[in-house]
């Protein structure tokens, strides 16, 4: 630890470190000791202690000068990579937020998972997630950031596939991990670009107010940082990579499709990871690297965020799966945050992140409680139906009053009605969107308008959800009249976290003035210094118009779903199908990416077998053929000559042998003939 830090800061650092380390200790204990039912308490106590430390860190560090403490980690080449923590407003806020969400979820989980045979495994994973998430929030360099970025994805993978015998769950977690991997590759590329441009991984050195990024410029297609100059395209690439990372983690278009599937995990996990914390990591990343984005890149962010928000909301209105509705709602709200980042509403984006974490987490906990009861009904009556389908529910408000009330509070916050936290954060984004579009070309007006429409869609699907689940009659009993119904609010482990979160959905937690988002303390702490207050009428008109219309929408939903008025829109037109099938993204991805990649891979394997190996075998055959040829030459030419000589000698030998008859008279005759021949020759010559 850097010794130069003053004592006060040093202790803060140690507190923060403790906060990060405690969950991993709980993880280790659960992992190695297999404590069974005690695992829940171990993890919960760890996270409870962590919360205390996080609160202390938060208290000491909020609006204080940042602390940056490092120790050397390793040296590679000439680059020393440090490990350290960076505590500024952003990180301590998230540190606290994660804990404040995680603690209720832990308590809730102890009841929710109590009958599951993987109870201790669940808490092992959960502690591991908390560790990764908390570490992600406080680390000070890009390598570590990437590491924990991926580890949260990994723990999310583990938790989505928690019930690993269910096919859908394991398909979902694979999808989630691979989608996130796309983002990771983007992040990795961005890190490589930044490293090759700035030769450091240090977040503080890179992105602080007068850091390296702030001091480098994009001019004439070049990206200039002091002496190092590279083409601007690398800056675009870095931003694209970062955007991919954000899109994957925060489920933005085009990488959003994993989040709805991720609902296969336990509901408490969805509440913690896929609603409040991990998916917010993308926004957190944007907050960390904000100075890198140039104006046009921010515009792109705004466009994509806005589009995602609208798309997800339009899907949410037709879904029937309780958790999927909430998942699309999460995508939509994350879209708001990304858009807010894009339009420069940095403070509002983070503010919304915090408020959203509370109300969305609460909604999931509510959903969990409801699903829990539905599963009870299913098991008790030995029926086979989907306990998450809202079409089977209804009228639960009398049986589960606490659940109902908290659900309404969270729902109102999500819609953004006054006196809730959602009103403060979301209206802020809307107002700033309008202000921003004034400074842009006319086309950009679409963005705030689309956002406005999305808000009303949100009001509709929230209302639909609440009315379908809690109002009217219990529809399952209408189909099965003899149904045994033992439906009631959950145990205290359910209720206490839910009530706590419901309180956090109300305005006083964030701002004493329920109508002015500018007065929210979180908002104020993230403001840039050149902020101008309330300069135009948007601040009054938009909230009023928005909320009045929202109320109308809610009433309409009430009319349709509770009073059973006819829906003005038919359910069999293509718009409905388009929404119901989630804009056909899954099918399109399957066709455009997955199948071609698989086809390519089988093709390449065939090429490997037939092409490369074929070539090898072909060479093999040629060589064999040449070998046979040379063997033939050897046999018939070289050996042939040899055999010929042998045969010749043998013939001569045989010829000579023929004289050796063994008959005396022949010898004599031969002699005579020889002599005569010689004589004749002598005479002739």
């Amino acid at each position: 630890m850097a010794q130069t830090l003053p004592y006060q800061q040093l202790t803060t650092c140690y507190y923060a470190l403790t906060a990060v380390v405690l969950p991993v200790l709980a993880f280790a204990v659960n992992f190695f000791l297999k404590k069974g039912k005690a695992a829940g308490w171990i993890s919960t106590i760890a996270i409870g202690a962590t919360t205390v430390f996080a609160a202390i860190v938060f208290k000491q560090q909020w609006n204080a000068p940042l602390i940056h403490a490092t120790i050397p980690w390793f040296t590679i080449g000439g680059t020393a990579v440090n490990a350290g923590i960076l505590l500024n407003n952003l990180s301590v806020l998230l540190l606290l937020l994660v804990n404040v969400i995680a603690l209720p979820v832990h308590i809730y989980s102890m009841a929710y998972m109590s009958h599951d045979e993987g109870f201790s495994r669940y808490f092992t994973y959960l502690s591991f997630f908390c560790f990764s998430m908390l570490a992600l929030v406080v680390v000070d360099n890009l390598v570590l950031f990437y590491a924990f970025w991926e580890l949260v994805g990994f723990s999310s993978y583990l938790l989505i596939g928690f019930w690993f015998t269910r096919d859908k769950a394991v398909q979902a977690n694979k999808k989630a991990f691979i989608m996130n991997r796309i983002g990771d590759v983007g992040l990795l590329i961005a890190i490589m670009v930044l490293f090759s441009q700035y030769h450091t991984f240090d977040l503080n050195a890179l992105f602080s107010a007068d850091g390296l990024v702030a001091n480098s410029t994009l001019t004439n297609g070049l990206w200039i940082n002091g002496t190092s100059t590279i083409p601007a395209v690398w800056q675009y690439l870095a931003c694209a990579g970062l955007f991919l990372a954000v899109a994957a983690k925060s489920a933005q278009f085009p990488l959003h499709t994993w989040l709805p599937d991720a609902m296969e995990g336990p509901t408490s996990v969805s509440a913690l990871i896929h609603a409040a914390t991990m998916v917010a990591a993308g926004i957190f990343l944007l907050g960390r690297v904000y100075p890198l984005f140039s104006v046009h890149e921010l515009d792109a962010l705004a466009i994509i965020g806005c589009f995602t928000a609208f798309m997800a909301a339009s899907i949410a209105i037709t879904q029937n799966d309780l958790k999927r509705i909430l998942a699309f709602s999460t995508i939509s709200q994350l879209g708001f945050m990304v858009m807010a980042m894009g339009i420069g509403a940095y403070a509002s984006s983070l503010f919304h992140l915090v408020t959203h974490a509370f109300f969305k987490c609460l909604l999931f906990l509510v959903a969990g409680a409801v699903i829990h009861e539905m599963q009870h009904i299913r098991d008790e009556n030995k029926l086979d139906f989907d306990p998450q389908n809202i079409l089977y529910m209804g009228g639960l408000r009398r049986k589960m009053p606490i659940t109902f009330i908290t659900a309404v509070i969270a729902g109102l916050a999500l819609v953004g009605l006054p006196f809730t936290s959602g009103y403060l954060s979301k209206d802020g984004i809307l107002i700033q969107a309008f202000e921003w579009s004034d400074t842009k070309a006319g086309v950009f007006k679409i963005i705030p308008i689309l956002t406005l429409i999305t808000s009303w869609l949100t009001a509709f699907y929230v209302a639909r959800l609440v009315f379908k689940v809690f109002f009217g009659k219990f529809r399952l009993s209408e189909v099965n009249p003899g149904l045994k119904l033992h439906v009631h609010d959950g145990p205290w482990k359910f209720n206490v976290p839910m009530i706590f979160l419901a309180i956090c959905c109300l305005f006083p937690v964030f701002s004493l003035n329920p109508f002015l988002y500018e007065h929210a303390w979180i908002y104020k702490s993230f403001l840039p210094s050149n902020f101008l207050e309330r300069m135009n009428p948007y601040h009054t008109i938009i909230p009023i118009a928005l909320n009045i219309l929202s109320l109308l929408v809610i009433y309409w939903a009430y009319a349709v779903y509770v009073l059973d008025k006819k829906l003005p829109l038919k359910q069999n037109n293509w718009l409905f199908a388009f929404s119901y099938y989630q804009w056909y993204f899954n099918e399109a991805y399957q066709k455009v990416f997955v199948q071609p990649v698989l086809a390519i891979s089988t093709g390449l394997f065939a090429f490997d077998r037939k092409g490369i190996d074929g070539l090898i075998h072909f060479f093999n055959r040629i060589i064999l053929w040449v070998a046979k040829l040379s063997a033939a030459i050897d046999r018939y030419v070289v050996d042939g000559f040899l055999h010929f000589v042998v045969a010749l000698v043998r013939q001569i030998g045989n010829f000579a042998r023929s004289f050796q008859t063994g008959r005396v008279q022949y010898y004599l005759l031969t002699t005579v003939v020889a002599i005569v021949a010689w004589v004749i020759l002598k005479i002739l010559i």
Partner: protein, 536 residues
């Protein structure tokens, strides 16, 4: 007694002991081999701990900076007018090799533990195994090219027999393919070696020499000799030094293996018995990477930097091609074999960058892949020995039947696909970072190569997770029905004892990469410095 020499020749000693023992004691062979491997590990750890770092111990091109050196005259022949034939027994290590020694020693132990499954002809098996063991350590520490070549060839023969005699159904095909592929490379290597010998003179004795370190110094080349940088000789119209480099590179690229010279690997792996697969993937592939760094880049740095674009390209192709092929496999072992091709592509890409990050990443990747691929092949062996089947589609829901096994599989898979916290992440990230940085610092590789290489990480997640989903998750469903269910018992303590150290090392190096980087950094920096002067 020199530690390094001891490390190299202990297996030979053990091999002799086994050779003279009667086969009635065959039950003890594996324990002798295990003991040897453990002693080797202790020795290598001793070497690692006593390895000095710092710029004065960088090694690479400075003969006096090597550590644990032993140099003895070995073959001296008076050749009359040509001078003496000078071949030394010359071993020593620097940062490039030290971590590989430790890694190999650990993988050896795991391979011995995996050898418990071998039931036939134990004497021959363990003797061959120990010869291979010796050759591996010899290759990593030899600094005389002749000695290097000797050990290099010596690896080949035991492997051929190990695959050909204890392998699967198509073992003859696989072993001969492996043998011919590798021999093809090494025969040409022999030519270049002779060429180098005739070009280089020992400045002290004035004799021609096989000393690798002296081959790295341009001043030691005879004027007008074939590989002299100044004489600009050509072979078949191409610059001689380039030809020499390419030939050596091909020899090592076959070992790595680099696409398109890789097709021996899947066959060899599929047919080889588990311990041989472990050795092949864990240790022998690293010799390719090591050779490229030590021999190719060391002796022909000029040609290496000139052709770095192509090296990088081959690396990227290997990464993507291997990953895509892995995606298409049904045979688990073949899948892992292709994933090896993909992972070793990072090594080549890192080396090709000639940046400190890239080469460090490459060495780290070799070490990391040594542990992880051994683990993966060991895990495949676990299933295979139980039911003699490896087809992914014949299994489902193994997580329910074999929870501990699945835990190790998950660790191995995620570590291999580069999950942070494990060594492969650091290795791959820095190989890529080096490759990316190269464009900015020395201009050897374009950035898109690193970007494409990063896609390999994505595909890696694809095939590993898909396998997990298909084989391990879901409700149990086995092709072999109840009898398989009975055979598929969870892993026992012997198997755990092999897997835990590997998983631990992968984790340790992921959390504390300095364990590797500290030891190699000086050498890598020196190597980068050394090659930089040849970059135009």
């Amino acid at each position: 007694m020199n530690l390094l020499t001891l490390l190299i020749f202990i297996p030979l000693l053990a091999g002799l002991v086994i050779a003279v023992m009667p086969s009635s004691l065959r039950g003890s062979f594996k324990y002798i081999t295990l003991l040897t491997a453990v002693i080797q590990l202790v020795l290598s750890v001793l070497i690692y701990l006593n390895f000095k770092t710092g710029a004065t111990h960088a090694g690479v091109v400075h003969e006096d900076q090597f550590q644990f050196v032993q140099k003895l005259p070995w073959i001296r022949l008076n050749l009359g007018g040509v001078g003496d034939l000078q071949i030394d027994y010359f071993v020593g290590i620097d940062g490039v090799s030290v971590t590989l020694l430790v890694m190999s020693a650990l993988v050896m132990i795991v391979a011995v533990i995996a050898s418990w499954e071998i039931k036939t002809n134990l004497k021959g098996y363990f003797i061959l195994f120990l010869i291979l063991d010796m050759a591996v350590f010899g290759v990593f520490s030899a600094l005389d090219f002749f000695l290097f070549y000797l050990f290099y060839e010596l690896m080949l023969l035991p492997l051929y027999f190990l695959i050909g005699m204890w392998g699967g159904p198509r073992r003859e095909y696989a072993s001969i393919k492996f043998f011919l592929y590798t021999l093809f490379g090494s025969v040409f290597m022999l030519l270049v070696m002779v060429g180098l010998y005739l070009s280089v003179k020992d400045p002290v004795t004035g004799n021609h020499t096989f000393n690798i370190i002296q081959m790295m110094n341009p001043a030691n080349y005879d004027a007008g000799s074939v590989f002299s940088a100044l004489s600009h000789q050509t072979i078949l119209g191409m610059p001689a030094r380039m030809v020499g480099f390419v030939v050596l590179f091909i020899a090592f690229a076959i070992k790595v293996p680099v696409v398109p010279l890789h097709t021996w690997l899947p066959d060899a792996h599929v047919e080889a018995p588990t311990p041989v697969s472990i050795l092949l993937a864990g240790v022998l592939l690293k010799i390719g990477g090591y050779g490229i760094i030590r021999i190719c880049a060391g002796i022909f740095p000029d040609a290496a930097v000139q052709s770095s674009y192509w090296l990088g390209l081959l690396g990227v192709i290997s990464i993507l091609y291997g990953a895509l092929n892995a995606l298409a496999q049904r045979d688990l072992k073949r899948l892992i074999a292709y994933s090896s091709v993909s992972h070793m592509g990072f090594v080549l890409l890192g080396i090709a960058s000639f940046t400190a990050e890239g080469i460090s990443g490459a060495i780290m990747q070799m070490v990391s892949h040594g542990f992880l691929s051994s683990m993966l092949f060991f895990l495949v062996g676990v299933v295979y020995t139980r039911v003699h089947d490896r087809d992914i589609y014949n299994f489902r829901g193994l997580a329910t039947l074999m929870p501990s096994y699945t835990l190790f599989v998950v660790i191995a898979f995620f570590a291999s696909l580069g999950l942070p916290g494990f060594s492969a992440f650091v290795a791959e990230a820095f190989s890529l970072a080096g490759a990316f940085k190269s464009a900015n610092t020395n201009g050897l590789l374009p950035q898109w190569m690193a970007a494409c290489g990063a896609l390999g990480i994505l595909l890696g997640a694809g095939y590993f997770l898909w396998t997990l989903q298909r084989m391990f998750f879901g409700t149990p469903l086995l092709k072999g029905g109840e009898s398989w269910k009975l055979s598929l018992t969870d892993i026992n303590w012997r198997e755990r004892s092999a897997l835990i150290p590997l998983a631990f090392m992968a984790l340790l190096l992921g959390v504390m990469p300095s364990l590797v980087f500290n030891k190699i950094n000086d050498s890598v920096l020196l190597l980068v410095d050394f090659t930089r002067q040849f970059i135009k």
